[in-house]
Amino acid sequence: MNKHSNENWELLKTISPPEEQKNRIRNRLISSIRTQRPAKRNYRIFELKNLVLTALFLLISAGLLFQLQAKNQISDETGGHQAGSYPDFTWELENVYSEKTSNGYVFYEDGSPEQIGIAEKVTVKRRDEIIKSPGMNVKETMENFPYPTTLYIEHVKMMDVSLRYNFFIQAGKETIHFSFDYPKLEYAEIFQIIASLDFKKPEPYKHDGLLYVAHGYGTLPFPVGLKPIEIKGDTETYIWEHGSKDDYRDYIEKIKSTGGYKETNSDGLSYIFESANGSQIVKVSLIGKEITYEFSYPNREE
């Protein structure tokens, strides 16, 4: 028995990564290490340079900032709405507001100084550069959204960001790049912003039915328009403000139609679905305007 077991472990030890990947990572690593250095060196130079230049710079910057602040006091902090030489746009998510920057807009959540996203006008060249960055993984065309919209999900390994949702939106001749950080904003909130964008010119397309999206890499469709109430462990609760009984029925049919889930039980209010490979079970319940998802994973020990 032990011999057999040892053979298994010996087999697993023989798994080794390919050489070409080693070379690729080596080149990337050398490049990353070397880009770390100039930053340090510049910092030292900056430290050693005479302080008069620094003071002068700060003085000029302060003056400019003061002037800018006076100029922008009226228009630049309106939640859900932005105007100016930039394409004028609004969205429907009241807890998110934006501030104008030299490149576009930065988004914040009420009560938090932390940046949660950006919007900027991009050229085709810039768009392609962003798309080609190494962390970009998933490309998806958003069906029936107000403007032609393509989503790219980017892996970000930061303490407080794991995924960055990059949307490229065609508003007339302009391409606007929006990016939002998950989990600073929940998936439902990110999609709510993009699905409610209105640039005025051109007018947004208004889809008759519900819009559906996937959260993260899951395949379960979620309707757009959910407001997160509590997302904790394997249970997620949202308020579906505009979800009627008909919408709920439509939603349940949508889940079934994906082919990724089969219904195993229901009582009219709650529906239990099992994923096609049996790895996930989800109970969806609608009580009043509150929609709850309870996930369980029968094949997972954790």
């Binding site: 032990n2 023989t14 690729r24 020990e301």
Partner: protein, 181 residues
């Protein structure tokens, strides 16, 4: 000891890369269950070794230090995945990634895949200890250093982890595993 130059630091880290690339890559692969993150995390492990070089005490063991950096990266990602409901590929119906050198044990492919799947279904703590002990052949003392646990805790976790692998293997009609070491 005088301040080490950037050039010397780079040289050392690249030497470590040549020496431990395979170990770190395999450790990350067994922990995450897919190759998607391997390249990024191997890169990040060695880059972090470079940027926090000063924190590395020369009397320490380079191998355990690198494993502890990699362990922090993968455990962070596993916590994030849990929240995002992303699971390793081996919990689904997929094969060993094609770029791995599987030819040499193609006859045993089923066994390897089954065992990988079984390992992927374990708690991350079990996966950590089993990978370090059975695949990377670290000593209990080295694992204690990497994880910051007591040696007794490692023995207990390993025993329970192997037991869990064995149960999963038996449930799927697979092979046998020793329960202790």
């Amino acid at each position: 000891m005088g301040e080490i130059t950037d050039h010397k630091k780079e040289q050392l880290v690249m030497e470590w890369y040549e020496a431990y690339y395979k170990d770190i890559y395999r450790f990350i692969f067994f922990m995450m269950g897919d190759q998607q993150y391997c390249e990024d995390f191997v890169h990040d492990t060695f880059l972090r070794a470079y940027t926090s070089f000063e924190r590395f005490e020369n009397r320490g063991n380079v191998k355990t230090w690198l494993f502890s950096i990699a362990k922090h990266l993968v455990m962070d990602e596993i916590r994030k995945r849990k929240r995002r409901r992303i699971f390793p590929i081996f919990s689904s119906e997929q094969d060993i990634p094609s770029s791995f050198n599987v030819e040499q044990y193609i006859e045993n492919r089923d066994t390897v895949e089954r065992t990988l799947k079984a390992i992927q279904k374990l708690k991350p703590e079990y996966r950590l200890v089993i990978t370090l002990k059975k695949i990377e052949e670290c000593s209990t003392k080295e694992i204690a250093e990497i994880l910051g646990w007591s040696e007794a805790k490692i023995r207990k976790t390993l025993s329970r982890g192997l037991n869990a692998v064995r149960k999963k293997e038996v449930a799927e009609g697979g092979g046998h595993y020793e329960q202790t070491f």
